[in-house]
């Protein structure tokens, strides 16, 4: 009970109050803790925790395979992919560089060999001041130690002194040309970018379905969305504000037809509106971007700088309030159910 409840609640209260009130205290080590160490500690704890998650994933997927549940073949793929990356992440550096420290008088065979193996396009000017203190590093690493050794042997047969320099642990996951980076570029990135790109399709089908003028609120949502969508792209500045004015007149007519029974009023409005716009246009000579209010790029700017800011600001303040009060509830122990203490 003490270990399960009392201490965790004490930890929340202590660190919560410490980081909260620490903001007001001028003290280097407190500042350092709040600005840096506190989050770093969390990162470290989370880094340990991720192994729990990985274990859980492996366990569930293996169970599927062992029990031959439907789709177990895919679970096998997940397990193998996991193991592949786990191995290149922790047990194989996957990046061994070769550094040339002396070159023969005729470097051409060596340069040919290097270019052939690495698809680089080196020429002799790259090797001008190569020596033991200042070796030349071939920027394309080898995936395995043995392939790098082989290459060193090949170079040696051409009279070139070279050595294998493995990438240090830790740096190996970020070395361009390394195995981990290859995985990142060719598996991880395309998958994540494509999942992200699926959104382009989903956003289209969602707007198609949801952007319906069911009521006044939905109409506002729809109009704001459409105006931003057109106004922000180049096509928007090709649409004359006069066209938008005509549309507005007709749009108001449609709205009126729902409110007013008398057809003559609607007809009168539309006729008057169209005439007014036409006369005004003839007076002003139909400039594409005037009156500014009806020019889509300007209109979208207004929507996003004025009513949108108001709405966004209210949500921001609301969220701020919610977070502050909720945080205080945790710090003062008013709410404890996140550790299962209801």
């Amino acid at each position: 009970m003490f270990l399960r409840r009392t201490i965790p609640i004490f930890i929340v209260g202590f660190f919560g109050a410490f980081t909260l009130f620490g903001w007001f205290i001028e003290n280097e080590s407190i500042k350092a803790f709040i600005n840096d160490d506190a989050t770093q500690w969390y990162d470290i704890i989370a880094s340990f925790a991720i192994f729990l998650g990985a274990l859980n994933l492996l366990k569930l997927q293996s169970l599927k395979v062992l029990k031959r549940q439907s789709g177990w073949q895919y679970s096998l793929i997940a397990i193998l992919s996991f193991l592949y990356v786990f191995v290149i992440g922790f047990f194989m550096r996957g990046a061994f560089f070769v550094e040339i420290s002396s070159i023969p008088s005729n470097p051409d065979p060596m340069i040919n060999l290097v270019n052939e193996t690495t698809a680089l396009e080196l020429n002799s000017s790259y090797f001008v001041d190569v020596n033991n203190e200042n070796p030349f590093r071939i920027e394309v690493p080898f995936y395995t130690d043995s392939s790098a050794d082989d290459f060193v042997a090949q170079l040696a047969s051409l009279g070139v002194n070279s050595a294998v320099v493995p990438t240090p642990w830790g740096a190996h996951i970020q070395t361009s040309g390394g195995l981990f980076k290859w995985m990142f570029d060719n598996i991880f990135t395309p998958l994540s970018a494509t999942m992200f790109a699926l959104l382009a399709f989903f956003v289209a089908s969602a707007s198609y379905r949801a952007f319906k003028a069911r009521n006044f609120e939905a109409t506002l949502l729809l109009l704001a969305g459409i105006i931003i969508m057109i106004g922000r792209v180049p096509v928007g500045s090709l649409i004359s504000s006069w066209f938008v004015m005509y549309l507005t007149v007709l749009g108001v007519g449609v709205v009126l037809s729902g409110l007013v029974r008398d057809r003559r009023i609607i007809f009168g409005w539309v006729l008057f509106g169209l005439l007014f716009v036409t006369i005004l246009g003839m007076q002003m000579g139909w400039p594409i971007d005037k009156p500014t209010m009806f020019f889509l790029p300007a209109l979208q700017e207004w929507i996003y700088m004025v009513p949108n800011v108001a709405g966004a600001r209210a949500i921001m303040i609301g969220i701020g309030l919610g977070i502050i009060i909720t945080s205080l509830r945790y710090i003062f122990g008013l709410e404890k159910s996140y550790i299962g203490d209801q």
Partner: protein, 280 residues
């Protein structure tokens, strides 16, 4: 009329996979056969351009690469554009590159490679890639406190003390301008919240983030913002070097038009259905 209504109704209950297909084609075709559309810089992009333009000669500019490959088409043209604007004028600006995202490092390396091809630059004289440090906003706070505690070495493990252009730089306040190319958390928001208030800050963000960041532009905490790919294209136009953002804008425009047509169609179908249901 009745027939037309029926067609619209049928189109209104279209399978969403057809929508997917049409959207795909609307984006793909302009990419295969590029079209040139006029680009008119908006005020917030102009503000970024002017803010960078107005920094004094020989300024130290920090560019933070806070995005990864998935948002590259949007943000990459912006960070490249900022570097080009800084270097174009030959005013002796120095570029310092940091990354709050691990993938940001690769983006930064890539951008520096491109820039190095276009300009003759001296590493550690004109630019330095400080690299990625984990810790999200804690990195910003750390940089503000003591930059040299966060970065003891640069991305190539060269000691900071051996880099000539790092002289006199001890915290974020020693920079003259900060630009964050940001695709989410941590990014522009964190730079505003935890960064220095004395250094002008601009940001380029994905379209999606714009709303969140906009109030800070309004309140002046951010000097303008490049909003999504259109922002990037506008900025490319301002800097005068057209790139992938500009060519993507045609695809973008068609994509939008298709979506809007679908929305209009959906609304027409909705109204027709409503009216018919009311009648019977």
């Amino acid at each position: 009329m009745e027939k037309l209504e029926n067609i619209i109704l049928k189109l209104g209950s279209i399978d969403r996979r057809i929508i997917f297909l049409i959207i795909g084609l609307a984006v793909l075709i302009p990419l295969l056969r590029p079209v040139d559309l006029p680009i008119r810089p908006g005020p917030s992009s102009q503000q970024v351009y002017d803010a960078i333009d107005s920094i004094p000669d020989n300024s130290k500019v920090l560019i933070s690469f806070d995005y990864g490959p998935s948002t590259r088409p949007e943000i990459h043209p912006m960070t490249l554009g900022v570097m080009r604007q800084l270097l174009d004028q030959n005013r002796g600006h120095k570029i310092y590159v940091t990354c709050l995202w691990p993938d940001g490092l690769y983006m930064a390396k890539d951008a520096l490679k491109t820039i190095n091809k276009e300009y003759t630059l001296e590493k550690y004289e004109d630019y330095v890639l400080l690299g990625f440090r984990p810790g999200y906003e804690a990195v910003i706070k750390g940089l503000e406190n003591n930059l040299r505690a966060v970065y003891t070495v640069d991305a190539d493990l060269t000691s900071i003390d051996d880099i000539p252009m790092m002289e006199g730089i001890n915290s974020l306040e020693d920079f003259d301008f900060i630009f964050s190319g940001s695709a989410g958390y941590p990014g522009s928001l964190e730079w505003v919240l935890y960064g220095p208030t004395t250094v002008p800050l601009s940001s380029g963000t994905t379209s999606i983030q714009v709303n969140e960041v906009l109030p800070y532009v309004q309140s002046g905490q951010l000097k303008g913002i490049l909003a999504g790919m259109p922002g990037a294209a506008e900025y490319e136009a301002l800097v005068g070097k057209k790139g992938i953002a500009t060519s993507g804008m045609a695809a973008q425009s068609y994509g939008h038009i298709v979506i809007i047509l679908f929305i209009i169609l959906g609304n027409l179908a909705y109204f027709i259905k409503e009216r018919r249901e009311r009648k019977y």
